[in-house]
């Protein structure tokens, strides 16, 4: 999952630094992730993992780092399994 997220960030994140230089807990916003690009990342993740972000997870914190994105996706997948 981590690699897939990194692929998506590389393709649509529009970051001024290579994604390989980022640690899992690096702050994506200070690394240059714009709010427009963060929506593109969300859309790509929804498509790739066949999930839909619930409104309560559409905030800066859910997308603040690669680890945070991973946690957010796992949370959604778990909720979907339980449903």
């Amino acid at each position: 999952m981590n690699e897939t997220i990194r692929d998506i960030l590389t393709k649509v994140g529009g970051l001024p630094v290579p994604v390989t230089d980022l640690a899992d807990d690096s702050d994506l916003y200070t690394s240059g992730l714009s709010s427009f690009a963060s929506v593109q990342v969300m859309l790509a993740i929804e498509e790739k993992f066949d999930v839909e972000f619930p409104d309560n997870l559409l905030n800066r914190k859910s997308f603040a780092s690669i680890a945070a994105i991973e946690g957010t996706i796992r949370q959604i997948l778990k909720a979907q399994e339980a449903a």
Partner: protein, 394 residues
Amino acid sequence: MSVVAFAPQAESLCDRAQRVAGIAARHADDVDHAGRFPREAVEAMKAERLLGIQVPAAHGGEGATLTEIAEICVILGQACAASAMVFAMHQIKASSLVEHGEESTWHTGFMRDLAKHQYLLASATTEGGIGGNLRNSICAIAIDGETCRLTKDATVISYALEADAILITSRAHDGAAPSDQAMTVFLKDQYTLDKTNDWDTLGMRGTCSEGFVFKGEAPACQVFPKPFAEIAAQSMLATSHLLWSGVWYGIAADAVARSQSFVRAAARKAQGQVPPGAAHLAEAVNLLQLVKSNLLTGLKTYQDARANPDKLSSMSFAIAMNNVKIASSETILDIIHKALLICGIMGYKNGTPFSLGRHLRDAHSARLMISNDRILGNTATMLLVQKPDVSLLG
């Protein structure tokens, strides 16, 4: 009688704001005509101690809520839009300080100074070369040991020459991405300003939003400890849209009041027969109520979200605040146009009790600063993933 009874704080914020509005109204036409700073009104704000009301009581202020501050914007907006906008812009900066400064000793001390000395705060977020997107900076603050230095080609700093301090954005350091920003407080004696742009505009002429090259040097502790991205999302977005909307609602409310006086005067002369424009008055009051409901809902949404940083940073909240701005900035123009139809040539002429030229010109700034097209574009992007909140109870 105790001394406290004489202090302005013993009276309601609205009473104090009404006194300022009286002074602002007397000078409004001259401020507009000359394109000069509304000095008398801002001095009155200081005398009534309105500039520090947002500071918590523990730090010498009055802990005024955003709704109370918006009400003052409405009161001042009915008198002089430029004075009201200066007040609103100051309070937007004060909210950054109050909401995000408490974890730093220097900023807490500055909050106390603001309340004590009634400092007027200005903002420098726009910059040559970034096209009005305040979430990007080109300039970077240089921190050298205990000192920070910044040079910024600031295309707009409203009332810069009159301010006691400027809160200015930049990249957080030399190697930072354009969106990795910091905000720093510079006090009046810590910067120089070289004017680059005049402010000779259609309306809002008294805000004196001229351009300057800013050069500042200050102790490094004056940089806000929080990234500007969080300050922008958690306090500036909401306070800007809500307080501006308060000012605009005030402009429209005064236009409606003038047109109602016109209808009433005409009806009295014609023994109760309503003049032909009276139906427009009913429509204008209807629209005014829409703007009021929109603003009140926005203020409640902010108040409910205020304690929750995740909620404040959420897309649904940003969309709600964007919508307040779009709706109020568009609707006030419709309202003032209707008022003008009612007052006719007496509204079109300057210098009558029903003149609406200044209202109309001031109101036209609302859609442009910040451009509604930019805001709609941001909202449209968020709507790619966010569903609109349609419930009544939230």
